[in-house]
Amino acid sequence: MSYDVPPIEGEVERGPEGTTGGYRLWEVFVRASRGLNHVHAGSLHAPDAETAARNARDVYTRRGEGVSIWVVPSSAIHASDPDAAEAWFDSDKPYRHPTFYEIPDEVGHM
């Protein structure tokens, strides 16, 4: 995932006195139904994991979008380097795909 939030004031554990900061940023993953993966839905601020999960329900599943939620501190995500994307994700190996191979029609579906 290439989603990475630069360090921001709100990420500190406690904001300076008298300010509003102090909530951590959480990434929210929602499973649409049993048998499917949890998929990234968005992010939100919350003081702890339980509150994050409860708020995630209100923010990301108001219309039956999910049956399960994961919340993960954004700071726990290590993303790949976008500058290295070309080297990391090359797509010049067509022989890894089934369509690379020519099978005579007579052989039938394979």
Binding site: I8, G21, V59
Partner: protein
Amino acid sequence: MTVTEEAADREAAGRARFEALLAADEKVEPRDWMPDDYRKTMIRQIAQHAHSEVIGQQPEGNWITRAPTLKRKAILMAKVQDEAGHGLYLYSAAETLGVSRDELQELLHSGRQKYSSIFNYPTLSWADIGAIGWLVDGAAITNQVMLTRTSYGPYARAMIRICKEESFHQRQGYEIMLRLVEGTEEQRAMAQDALDRWWWPSLAMFGPPDADSTHTEQSVAWKIKRETNDELRQRFVDMTVPQATYLGLTIPDPDLAWNEERGHYDFGEIDWDDFWRVIKGDGPCNRERIANKVRAWEDGAWVREAARAHAERKRRRAKAGTRSI
């Protein structure tokens, strides 16, 4: 190579990649290099959009306790809750650009960032709730459908989610208008009055005419906007006129007429002086909207403080190896 040369090299490579992404109609993502002005424009636009969703709760929230039936009350609460959710999606998108939510909130509270002027008009009757859903959300959808194709990934993704939900908003509003025009003479008059008051501010929502819009050209070049203010406004008018006709209501514009040659409706001149007056703070409800917002924030301070203290205590106890309550 010196450090400065290296930085310049990296910037040149970043800029080339940014231009290539735009040319290929691909999305720009948070960690990609982007021009400072692109970042600033994006922060400003997304923040304004988020503020609009949040402030937009007020004119409708005004009618929750007075909705005519339990069904309408439940619908209105769901809609207002959606607006809060939309604000959150958008603040999250803005934060990927390196601003904090607190900072944006402070900019809203101090009047240094704006929200859509439309929310500075009052909701005087129940029909206004219908007109807002039909016209204001209708105009917002026209704009937001375009924005699902905007070049900044997190913003585009937020727009897709929001558009799915806005459709309910517009339909419930139009249905309120339908029920009213089917009702008594008084209810019909109420519907017409709401249309009279909301029509022009809804058209103004698309922003100044292209000729006067300082941002449009650059925004189109960066593929932030894919269509201009005037194009979107025209589309909205063309879609909405037949809907008003179906309701048997009259759009308050003597110059409104179908133009066969253009294949579009011609419409009258928007009162831009009023538009600027309201944006600059002198609309009917500007002060009230911000005062309510600031009060809600300040009144909620003890809740945020308690939640923080609770989380802190849990962390401390976990560290000490004792069981949390």
